[in-house]
């Protein structure tokens, strides 16, 4: 099959490694990481524009290197060829290899923040989203220093206490090793950051199985195939997403 893959660059190394061995011919387009941060509707519109640009005469399906991503995929519509995406809340499902493993780790580790090569090296935080960023647009992304400058010391202290630093309640950084890293630089980077921020640190081994299945065309019930004329919807159950007729 010839397939088109539209993916978040957070999966860059993993997808490239997997694509190299796919039995199919796959053209890939990576989009900036962190699109969920522009809000569900904004992310969906951006993805839809990319999906709509695909020359459907060339491909059997469009693969999506995404999950539900904070409702960013909800409403995404398949035009003339199917859309295929893994069932999951976000990319951590793809890194850990299954929804079950993600839920188990998430439940057992409250306040965990995950790091992978893509999160660390692709783009600088979410600056690449520019003025569309939710944090930028609402003023929630300000640093303490920026708050002091804009609102004065006394106000800044109050504001920081209320809304400062969206990761402030996280207690642990977990590095997911996927087996595509050149050496231990990303792991060390995460560990160093954990120490600097007074957070716990853990390294766990990821699982490439969902990523392989996506690019190998092994779309079992861990994937949603959205037929032409239908769109992605949140199912709010264990299946995470479903397809529905596009109105």
């Amino acid at each position: 099959m010839r397939l088109k893959l539209i993916a978040c660059e957070i999966l860059y190394r993993e997808l490239c490694a997997s694509l190299a061995r796919s039995p199919h011919q796959i053209d890939v387009e990576f989009l900036p990481k962190g699109l969920h941060d522009i809000g569900g509707a904004g992310m969906r519109d951006r993805l839809q524009a990319v999906v709509d640009r695909v020359d459907e005469s060339l491909y059997s399906a469009v693969l999506l290197g995404y999950a539900l991503c904070g409702m960013g995929l909800a409403g995404l519509t398949a035009r003339g060829i199917p859309l295929v995406l893994p069932r999951g809340h976000d990319c951590i499902t793809l890194f850990l290899g299954s929804r079950e493993r993600y839920m188990e780790y998430f439940t057992g580790n409250p306040g965990v923040y995950f790091k992978t090569t893509g999160w660390i090296e692709r783009g600088k935080d979410l600056d690449q989203l520019g003025p569309d960023s939710f944090y930028r647009k609402t003023g929630l992304g300000l640093t303490y220093e920026e708050m002091v400058e804009k609102y004065g010391e006394e106000n800044a202290q109050y504001l920081w206490d209320q809304i400062g630093g969206y990761t402030r309640n996280y207690g642990k950084l977990t590095f997911i090793e996927m087996g595509v890293e050149p050496d231990d630089r990303f792991e060390r980077h995460t560990e160093r950051e954990a120490v600097e921020r007074g957070m716990g640190y853990q390294k766990i081994t990821g699982d490439m199985r969902l990523i392989h299945r996506l690019v190998n065309g092994e779309w079992n019930d861990e994937f949603l195939v959205v037929p032409p004329g239908c769109r992605v919807a949140a199912s709010h159950d264990d299946g995470v997403i479903r397809s529905e007729k596009s109105s």
Binding site: G40, G70, M71, P110, Y151, A234, H236
Partner: protein, 211 residues
Amino acid sequence: MADLKKLYDAILNGDQKTAIAVTEAALAEKVDPQSLINEAMIPAMNEAGSKFECEEYFVPELLLAARAMKGSLALIRPLLAAAGAEPVGRVIIGTVKGDLHDIGKNLVASMLEGGGFEVIDLGADVAVDKFVAAVKERNPHLICMSALLTVTMPAMKTTIQALREAGVRENVKVMVGGAPVTAEYASEIGADGYADNASAAVRKARELVAA
């Protein structure tokens, strides 16, 4: 003569010191506290909310306005209570089990307080049982739940079910919010209301409490 315009401006500009000073002066002049609220403070908060919804104000400006409002209210409330006036309503608020993202919740809590509600903040990662116990003990008019992750959203549904099983669902209105939450989801899980920003949340809360 009380300077209502000065109080209005102080709240709108998030200047708590001035808001408190003007309120103190007005109360010393025996101005009717209810008229301060109705003629200066609530209009100022409404204007701040509308600036926020037009993206003229950011979250920090909105929070500072709410804090100035709270500063004035703290002076006025004892007088109102002595006269037998009640807060607009009592609200219990928290982020759901497993969700540690509390910035939006803090903003809504602050805006509700600024809007004259008595707010009991249960914090972040609030277990279902804790919501139920708080409803039983504090007898609120409204409970507000938020989630930032679709992973944790189902806890809203579980909490509503638990309220039903505990026999207290009918005693309280339920409002939900958070980035991935939608009005459709709110109605699907049997919540009474949904708001997609902090200013709209105050309007919705007033509506639900009055219903």
